[in-house]
């Protein structure tokens, strides 16, 4: 132990940023759920009252985490992982259904969402596995193991159905990349996504023409000294064209109409104004309303509790997934930019902390935490401002919801706890 106590060693910058985010989140939950008659903010029948209660529970969680022995998490990570898998399996039998998804256990005072717990457990388990002295991520075998650790909970969550939460598990790939997982996998993945999207937007013919033109350009302008073998390039083009052809088949036959509608809306594939209007009223209603609400905020916003669309409850699920639209309407560009900035600074600070860890486990776990948070943040805000298709994931620390807030908090504070012990671990 160094001379300073726990409070001296913990990273206060992160804590302040965390507190700010939670506070701003709560302010907006207050605004979205304020009824006509003003009641006390501690009124637990209201959403903002309940969120306050969840914030209290999170504080308890923080205290719990901070006073547990630091290597407890590393030691028991496998057990956490197994327990969370069991809990996920148990949902098939004992689960409580809310809004069509069987994702909760009813604990009476609290609805527990094990997929949130599983994120923490998976982050720990992955870190544990990767930091093991015998693990070498460059071997296929260990790559496979790592994938299994990541994807097993995702597969259990998918049929709840909760595709949003399942998707989040892909965040852990960032941990793998950090630890030496070949980067070209990411390149291939990106290439496939680009191919998929461009095929939907422009069709196979144009995609192929584009690739050929691009290749020709590269060959024309490359330095004479640089040699690029022609055959593999041709092979890539042919395979890509075949893939591109299959995209339409998959899109038309494997996807369901609601998926197609989401894509159509997202990529602006639908040009027919009538159909667009129809989509706005059905599948695209949330996005449309949320964009409109944000847009109407302008630079300065309409002011706290003055958001007409927020008050009118125009954006569905505004207190949970669409909380950011309330920021946009009431606080304007100033508010949204501040929140984006806060999140970015917060994440960069966490990366800085992760990189200063001497213990591999701590660093890897840290990366897991950051990846999870960034993924939520990216998908959520991206969806709310109309950049991404509708995928239901909460905005960390902002969105209303007990499990979310508590487990995001635990996720973070386990990392801060590990960080506070970094000097001791290193020696």
């Amino acid at each position: 132990m160094s001379g300073r106590g726990l409070f001296g060693r913990i990273d206060w910058i992160t804590i302040i940023l965390y507190a700010l985010l939670v506070f701003i989140g709560w302010i907006n939950i207050y605004s979205t759920s304020l009824a006509d008659q003003s009641t006390s903010i501690f009124d637990f029948t209201t959403l903002y009252g309940k969120q306050l209660y969840f914030i209290g529970l999170s504080l308890l969680g923080i205290i719990l985490v901070l006073f547990v022995e630091s290597n407890f998490f590393e030691r028991f990570s496998s057990i956490f992982y197994v327990v969370s898998l069991v809990l996920l399996l148990g949902l098939f039998v004992f689960g409580k259904t809310i809004a069509g998804a069987t994702s909760w256990y009813n604990l009476g005072f609290f609805n527990l969402q094990p997929s949130e717990l599983a994120k923490v457990a998976t982050a720990l388990a992955l870190a544990k596995f990767l930091s093991d002295i015998q693990t070498d991520i460059r071997t296929r075998k260990h790559q496979m193991y790592a994938l299994v650790i990541i994807l097993l909970p995702a597969f259990l969550i998918l049929p709840q159905p909760d595709p949003g939460s399942a998707l989040i598990y892909f965040a852990f790939f960032f941990v793998l990349f950090r630890e030496g997982f070949p980067l070209y996998y990411l390149g291939i993945l990106l290439f496939i996504v680009v191919l998929f999207v461009t095929t939907l937007m422009f069709g196979t013919v144009w995609v192929t023409i584009g690739m050929v033109v691009l290749t020709l350009l590269v060959y024309t302008f490359k330095k004479a000294s640089v040699k690029i073998p022609l055959l593999p390039v041709l092979g890539v083009i042919i395979v890509s064209t075949l893939f591109s052809l299959s995209v339409n088949f998959v899109y038309e036959n494997v996807f369901e109409q609601r998926h197609r509608d989401r894509f159509a809306l997202w990529l602006g594939l639908e040009k027919d104004e009538d159909k667009l209007e129809e989509i706005r009223k059905t599948i695209g209603y949330n996005t449309y309303q949320s964009e409109k609400a944000i847009e109407s905020g302008g630079f300065f916003g309409k002011g706290f509790l003055e958001g007409t669309r927020t008050k009118g409850d125009f954006v569905p699920e505004q207190h949970t997934d669409y909380i950011f639209s309330s920021v946009g309407e009431e606080w304007g560009f100033l508010g949204t930019a501040t929140v984006v900035l806060l999140f970015s600074v917060f994440f960069l600070r966490l990366i800085y902390i992760a990189e200063r860890q001497k213990s591999d486990f701590s660093r890897m776990y840290g990366y897991g935490v950051i990846s999870i948070l960034v993924f939520h943040y990216f998908i959520n805000i991206g969806m709310v401002i109309g950049l991404l298709p509708t995928i239901g994931v909460p905005l960390p620390f902002f969105s209303y919801g007990g499990s979310g807030l508590i487990f995001f908090t635990m996720l973070l504070f386990i990392f801060l706890k590990l960080d506070s012990n970094r000097l001791k671990d290193g020696i």
Binding site: F177, R178, E295, G298, F299, K311, F314
Partner: protein, 622 residues
């Protein structure tokens, strides 16, 4: 590389988000969004529309309450439909149909079930209303007419149409707006300004309280009352006299240009276009293409003026110095154009100005017309001079009166004839009909009345108008208080007016004399043709009469135009004399004449061309 990956991703995401947010909140944002914010409902508080009074302060148009039965479909409980329909006075099928429409429009929002109940129906319904959940009665204001006359002048109000909605942000669907006549012309004055309340709504369109505690709300501003120049009694009397006759009458106060009466026959009761029967009545009026009651003949009909126009030719002759009042022209029971004799009814003999006007001698005025043209080297120059004089009397163009419709009439100019006959291929003799107010000349009754007012004023007129005062301030457009001078000098009017006075004393209008009132007038009998099924046929002449009275210090100038009324004094003259008497003396002494004029109709004349039978015109049947 691998250490920087996640950081770069975070920074990239940050920039993307900021970019998108700038696009949404800075680029796409517009400050007027509050106007079409679906979360804010504007409720309008309509002020009462301004009243309209006549020149003597008598009410012509006011307001009356009307009661709409409204329904909110979702709140309707099962009810005894038959009984309810009985109370409302509608068929059950109509009820079902409208309920269906209301539900389709919105189950949550009110729709009109039965519009504009009368006060009596309302009284009956009111006490029973509470038995019918989901229905309620909403009061609104409708026009009330304190006269059954002047429908076309007053105009009507009706719901704004889609075009107006698109082009005028002041209106919302369902609002009423003046669409014709004074209601249209003085819409902004009469309308006042509606108050606005902003209500915060939720996405189900339910009200959840005032927006910003009513900071943006405004109070309604009462519409202003206006006084118009019409004399209600004269107007009503004139319309009674027009019973069964087609035509137009305009009476003007010469010293101010105020229009005293503006009568078009046939007309209709303005109250027909108010209330539940409005659309039925409107269709009936609108599709009556033979008598055209909504077509205001007093300002839209453009017949040839006929003989009253001779007075102007006399004035031009004097002004141009080609004649004096003693210049004589011989009438051969007509006059020669080349070798053709054109007829005249004056009785023949030598005519000077006085007897020419008095007996309406065609030959005399043809002679005057020729002299005007002979003064100039070319016909074109003569035409220009003549046209300028004529137009200075407000003929041949829109008068600029404060009514939303009008017609220009026609004073032909040289280019008009160049087009018809070719350049240089016409002369005074070609267009000699213009000398007697036939030919290509056309004028509305309003223009004829105005021309008469200009003669009565000995050389100037005020733009005829119907507005007397607006609100309390009383001021009206200054263009109505500026005199317009004709190109004729004052001194030339006296001989012409003397002739017109003789028309009344000894001439073609001696039958219409009013004891104790001196009138200067001029009769007109206008040939006219109609095309029915591609066949041109001549109809009985139009009866025209213009006059002002008293000769000295004129109080009224009037033009009466009666379609197919035969010679000038026959209908037009008599009607004019009755109106002058009514206006100047306030009562009618010639009860027999009055009775005859009130009862006589010309429907038989109007039926002739449509009968399919051969018919005679200009019959002396009385």
């Amino acid at each position: 590389m691998k250490k920087l990956l996640l950081s770069s991703v975070i920074v990239l995401i940050g920039f993307t988000f900021i970019g998108r947010l700038s696009y949404l909140q800075l680029f796409r944002f517009s400050p007027d969004q509050i106007l079409d914010d679906p979360a804010i409902k504007k409720i309008y508080d309509y002020p009462e529309r301004g009243y309209i009074y006549d020149r003597n302060g008598e009410l012509m148009v006011g307001n009356q309450p009307a009661y709409d039965v409204m329904v909110i479909p979702r709140e309707v409980k099962p009810l005894d439909t038959l009984e309810f329909c009985g109370l409302l006075g509608i068929e059950k099928s109509v009820f079902t149909d409208r309920m269906q429409k209301a539900r389709t429009y919105s189950p949550r929002l009110p729709s009109v079930l039965v519009p504009q109940l009368s006060k009596e129906d309302y009284a009956k319904l009111q006490e029973k209303m509470r038995h019918y959940a989901g229905f309620y009665i909403q009061k609104r204001s409708l026009r009330y007419y304190a006269t059954n006359s002047a429908a076309n002048v007053l105009g009507y109000i009706s719901e704004v149409n889609e075009w107006e909605l698109k082009n005028n942000p002041n209106y919302v669907a369902g609002e009423l707006k003046g669409h014709t006549g004074i209601e249209k012309q003085y819409e902004e004055v009469l309308r006042g300004r509606k108050g606005v309340k902003h209500i915060q709504k939720d996405r189900f369109n339910r009200d959840i309280g005032p927006y910003k505690n009513g900071k943006l709300d405004t109070l309604p501003e009462q519409g202003k009352e206006i006084h118009i120049t019409l004399d209600k009694k004269l107007q009503e009397y004139g319309e009674r006299l027009m019973h069964g006759k087609h035509g137009g009458i305009v009476a003007i106060e010469p010293k101010s240009g105020e229009i005293l009466a503006m009568i078009s026959g046939p007309t209709y009761d303005p109250a027909l276009l108010v209330g539940r029967q409005r659309s039925k009545n409107y269709s009936k009026l609108h599709y009556d293409t033979i008598s055209k009651p909504t077509w205001d003949r007093s300002i839209l009909a453009q017949p040839s003026p006929g003989s009253p126009f001779k007075t102007l030719n006399a004035l031009v002759g004097l002004q141009e110095g080609v004649i004096d009042e003693d210049t004589k022209v011989r009438c051969y029971h007509g006059f020669y154009v080349g070798n053709t004799l054109r007829g005249c009814h004056c009785g023949g003999g030598v005519r000077n100005m006085n007897s020419g006007i008095q007996q309406s001698c065609n030959a005399y005025f043809a002679g005057v017309f020729r002299k005007i043209y002979d003064k100039y080297r070319t016909t074109d120059e003569a035409m220009d001079a003549w046209e300028k004089h004529m137009k200075s009397f407000g003929l041949g163009n829109f008068l600029g009166t404060d009514l939303p419709t009008g017609a220009p009439g026609r004073i032909p100019d040289k280019s008009y004839y160049d087009k018809w006959y070719g350049d240089g291929r016409w002369a005074a003799s070609t267009i000699i009909s213009n000398s007697i107010g036939q030919g290509e000349i056309a004028a509305t009754p309003l223009q004829l009345a105005n021309m008469t007012a200009a003669i009565a004023n000995r050389g100037y007129f005020y733009t005829p108008h119907v507005i007397k005062s607006i609100g309390n301030s009383g001021s009206i457009d200054p263009k109505f208080t500026e005199p317009h001078y004709t190109t004729i000098e004052r001194k030339h009017f006296e001989p012409v007016i003397e002739g017109m006075a003789n028309v009344y004393k000894y001439g073609t209008a001696r039958w219409i004399q009013i004891p104790g009132v001196e009138i200067a007038g001029k009769t007109g009998t206008v040939e006219n043709f109609i095309r029915v099924d591609g066949q041109r046929m001549q109809l009985t002449d139009h009866s025209v009469f213009v006059a002002f009275a008293p000769v000295e210090n004129p109080q009224i100038a009037i033009a009466v135009y009666i379609e197919n009324g035969y010679y000038g004094a026959r209908y037009a003259g008599h009607i004019a004399s009755l109106l002058i008497e009514k206006y100047i003396k306030g009562e009618i002494t010639r009860k027999d004449l009055e009775k005859r004029m009130l009862e006589k109709t010309l429907e038989h004349e109007y039926a002739k061309p449509y009968s399919g039978e051969p018919f005679k015109i200009n019959e002396y049947v009385w």
